[in-house]
């Protein structure tokens, strides 16, 4: 989320490819988290993340910095396209992903029970996100896990920034409703 810093690093990349490392390290966790939410299976996420960075490495000499196109938007656009191909070519949309195949989830205390609970929560959130419209799935995952700004998401998805904001609010609210419906006992249900 630091355009100017990215721009500086990217300028360095032109003359010194090792500078790409800085951007790679900055974006790796965010890109992985986004891709993992989109595809679920850790193995597939690893492949797609690796391919994304490979594309970025190969394409960066031709990348032209524009005010509205940050490096983040450019990188996540590559990942977004690869994920689209992943679902189109491999027909993975209906696949069930077991807990064992899911990636680990960040926890503050790595006790087994907490790890398992977080993984189950991840699986549940993924399932709920999958019920949103495709556009909102993208907006929510790019926002929460790619940590992108709304205007960057707008660039990736070809939307107006205000539309992204609208999708985000509605998508989150919808997700929340579904989460409560799935987890809160009927006697505790609230009127929203």
């Amino acid at each position: 989320m630091h355009d100017e810093a990215d721009r500086s690093e990217f300028a360095d990349c032109r003359s010194e490819p090792a500078a790409f490392d800085v951007l790679y390290r900055q974006y790796f966790p965010r890109l992985y988290a986004y891709v993992a939410y989109r595809v679920g299976r850790a193995h597939d996420a690893e492949e797609l993340v690796a391919e994304t960075f490979l594309h970025a490495v190969e394409a960066y000499p031709r990348f032209e910095w524009r005010a509205q196109h940050s490096f983040a938007a450019w990188l996540f656009r590559i990942a977004h396209n690869l994920i689209s191909n992943y679902y189109r070519d491999r027909r993975h949309s209906a696949e069930h992903v077991s807990l064992e195949e899911l990636p680990e989830i960040a926890v503050q205390q790595g006790v087994p029970e907490e790890l398992l609970a977080r993984k189950e929560l991840f699986a549940q959130l993924r399932a709920l996100i999958a019920t949103l419209s495709p556009r909102r799935q993208e907006v929510v995952t790019l926002k929460f896990f790619g940590e992108l700004r709304n205007h960057e998401i707008a660039v990736i998805l070809g939307l107006d920034e205000r539309t992204v904001a609208s999708h985000l609010c509605r998508g989150l609210d919808d997700l929340h409703r579904k989460y409560l419906a799935a987890t809160v006992p009927a006697s505790e249900e609230r009127i929203l």
Partner: protein, 479 residues
């Protein structure tokens, strides 16, 4: 929150309601800090509150497997170097289209390889500890000298030497890139042998880049080296041709030196008693303190010099084979190459790139690293020097400026956060890498065109004078 109606995908949906601006700002706060704003109350399992729920989502972050992350860390610089040498990169259509993306693939996935054969999977598991230990030498030769990393990978593509095992055996070394050196597995070496020194030199066809690692340097007349064979090897002239040397030693004085270079078309073997190694004619000749076996396999001339008994040496030699045959990739490489060293604590891995920061507008000439090591049963502190250069003259281009900088008290030392920068260890019980307990401190000297930066860790700052002596010793060897 008004209007919760589901909308389809038109690019210009109705704008966000004004009442949602606060929610948007809160989401940004949550994502930035991965924390729950004060007003949201308890996040809790139920996450009744929308903001609390947003925080719950934001904190459920998938983490990449550390081994995968480490492999990618290693692959990206190699790809960058390849990309630089192959300017026709991928077209930017990947940014515009979703229909034509057929990316090349990074060879990263050990699980995929395990799926390809249970036997290979078991073989890998059996050798994992040995591989993890051997990966130390990747660090020594590439990560250790990060500025040379990409350059060395490019050079490796130009040369044609290398050996690895036959299928089912144990590999030693297997270029081309990624540049990987493997220690012989313990079950193939006599107990107690370990790599003590190695050298990669592209020779006159390269740009003069030479990398060495692991050789202990005697500091002062009252100290001795704990690896005498390595020290002798470090002072030996190995010739101008591209070559690789790996020295193995045991604490009881036994040793093995592996030397390899590309064989000439009419390569002849030295005088000696005829032997056969894996079907190839070989020669065995006696040395003052051991024997030497020489043969040519698949275009690689291989010499093994050792104090081992002849039969043991022959058995070991039978596991070694030249492999640098364009287009015929050794299947074992696919198994071993993608595996990168796994650090128990990723924060203890020195990052790629220079450790002390880049100097704008200047090219890096090379680096020198001196680790000070204290072994349990030895009173002497060992100065372990490793270095690399991307200039032809390592003495004049790197060592001497580094020495001058160390001798200049006006140049400050920058503290580095790593417990070790060169020497890491693993064991059967701890199969990931941890900084070696023998490392008590280190100095890092990075030489640029018009500037030298010095860093230290542990008690390295107090060892500046020892570092000067170590460098003087190294310069003396170069003369």
């Amino acid at each position: 929150m008004s209007d919760r109606t589901e909308h389809p995908f038109e690019p210009h949906e109705q704008p966000v309601a004004s009442g949602d601006q606060e929610l948007l700002a809160t989401i940004d706060t949550i994502i930035t800090g991965r924390t729950l704003p004060d007003r949201a109350g308890d996040e809790g399992e139920g996450a009744h509150d929308l903001v609390a729920f947003a925080a719950l989502v934001a904190r459920t972050v998938p983490l990449a497997d550390t081994a995968f992350h480490a492999r990618l860390d290693e692959q990206i610089p190699l790809r960058l170097e390849q990309q630089r040498s192959e300017p026709d990169g991928l077209d930017m259509s990947v940014m515009q289209q979703t229909d034509t993306v057929e990316p090349a693939r990074l060879d990263l996935d050990p699980r995929g390889q395990r799926r390809s054969g249970a036997g290979l999977g078991r073989a890998f598991k059996h050798m994992a500890v040995g591989i993890a230990a051997a990966m130390l030498f990747i660090l020594l030769l590439m990560i250790l000298i990060p500025d040379l990393r990409t350059a060395s990978a490019a050079e490796l593509r130009k040369i044609a030497v290398g050996i690895s095992s036959r299928p089912g055996g144990v590999q030693v070394y297997s270029p081309p890139p990624p540049f990987v050196v493997f220690q012989l597995s313990p079950d193939r070496l006599p107990v107690g042998f370990a790599v003590t020194w190695n050298r990669y030199a592209p020779g006159s066809s390269g740009n003069g880049l030479v990398m060495t690692g692991g050789a202990p340097v005697r500091v002062g007349s009252d100290e001795s080296t704990i690896h005498p064979v390595a020290e002798r090897a470090a002072q030996r002239n190995w010739g101008p041709d591209p070559h690789i040397v790996i020295v193995y030693e045991s604490n009881d004085g036994r040793y093995l030196i592996l030397f390899e270079r590309k064989a000439a078309p009419d390569e002849s073997l030295p005088p000696g008693e005829p032997r056969t190694v894996a079907g190839n004619p070989a020669r065995l000749d006696a040395l003052d303190q051991g024997i030497r076996l020489t043969w040519v396999d698949a275009g690689t001339r291989i010499e093994i010099e050792s104090s081992l008994p002849e039969q043991e040496l022959l058995a070991l030699a039978a596991q070694v084979k030249g492999t640098q045959i364009p287009g015929e990739r050794n299947p074992l490489e696919a198994l071993f190459m993608p595996h990168e060293p796994v650090f128990c604590d990723p924060n203890q891995k020195p990052p790629s790139g220079v450790l002390l920061g880049k100097v704008s507008g200047q090219k890096n000439r090379g680096s020198v690293r001196i680790e000070f090591q204290q072994y349990p049963n030895r009173p002497d502190m060992i100065a372990n020097l490793s270095s690399g250069a991307n200039v032809p003259d390592i003495r004049g281009g790197v060592y001497e400026p580094a020495l001058a900088a160390l001798q200049n008290p006006a140049i400050p030392l920058q503290r580095l956060p790593y417990a070790a920068v060169s020497t890491f260890s693993s064991s059967e019980s701890v199969p990931c890498l941890v900084p070696s307990s023998v490392v008590k401190g280190y100095l890092v000297i990075e030489v640029w065109e018009q500037q030298v930066n010095i860093g230290y860790g542990g008690n390295g700052a107090a060892m500046r004078e020892r570092g000067i002596q170590a460098l003087l010793e190294e310069i003396k060897k170069q003369k």
